[in-house]
Symmetry: C2
Subunit: 111 residues, 2 copies
C-alpha cells in the first residue's frame, strides 16, 4: 500500500495534466507571451507553473501547432506565441473530444 | 515538425488517460470483475482495453483503493473488485477536482 497523500496528488496531477494542452491552445487564438498566458489561465481557474508552461510552448512550436515571433520593441524582448493553422485544426478536434469525454465522465459520476 | 496524426492521437490519449482512474473508480461502488467493468464503461461512452484495465485494477488494489475477492462458484473463477474506504475517499476528492476543472476548461474553450 502506498502513501495516501502521494497517491491522491499523483491522481489529481494526472487528471489536470490531461487538459493542459487543450487549455494552453484555447488561449492562443491571439498572440500571447509566457507570462501573459499564465495570467490569463490563472484568471480562469487553471494553474500552470512557468517551468511546465515554457517547455510545453517550445514543444508545441516544434510540433508545428504554434508559431512564435519576438517583440523587440519592449525593454525586455518577449516571445509571442500564436496558433498555427495546424494548431487551430488540432485545437478544434481536442475540443470535440473534450466535450464528448466530459459528458461521459459526468454521466459516470452521477450514475 | 512531427507527424500530424501521431501528435493528435497522443494528445487525445493524454486527455482520456487523465480521467481513467476516476472513470474506473466510479463504477466500483458495487463489486465488478474486469469484463463486466469494461462493458459498463463502454455502455457509458468510455472505451478501455483489457490490457490497460487489468494492470490498473492491480495497481489500485496495491495502493489500497480497491479490495478484491475471488468468486469460485462459477465454472471460471472471477476476481471481483470493490472500492475500499480509502478508495471511496479518494474517489470523492477526484470527483470534486473533476467538477471544478471541467467548469474551468468549459469556460476556457467557450471564452
Amino acid at each position: 500500500m502506498g502513501n495516501e497523500p502521494d497517491i491522491l496528488n499523483n491522481m489529481l496531477q494526472e487528471l489536470r495534466r490531461g487538459t493542459l494542452v487543450l487549455s494552453v491552445l484555447s488561449q492562443l487564438a491571439k498572440a500571447q507571451y509566457g507570462y501573459s498566458l499564465i495570467q490569463s489561465l490563472e484568471e480562469k481557474g487553471i494553474s500552470i507553473e512557468a517551468n511546465t508552461l515554457y517547455p510545453l510552448l517550445r514543444r508545441l512550436e516544434a510540433q508545428g501547432l504554434l508559431e512564435s515571433k519576438w517583440d523587440t520593441e519592449e525593454t525586455r524582448p518577449r516571445k509571442y506565441y500564436l496558433l498555427s493553422p495546424l494548431g487551430e485544426d488540432i485545437y478544434r478536434r481536442l475540443c470535440a473530444e473534450w466535450k464528448s469525454m466530459a459528458q461521459s465522465v459526468d454521466r459516470l459520476i452521477e450514475g
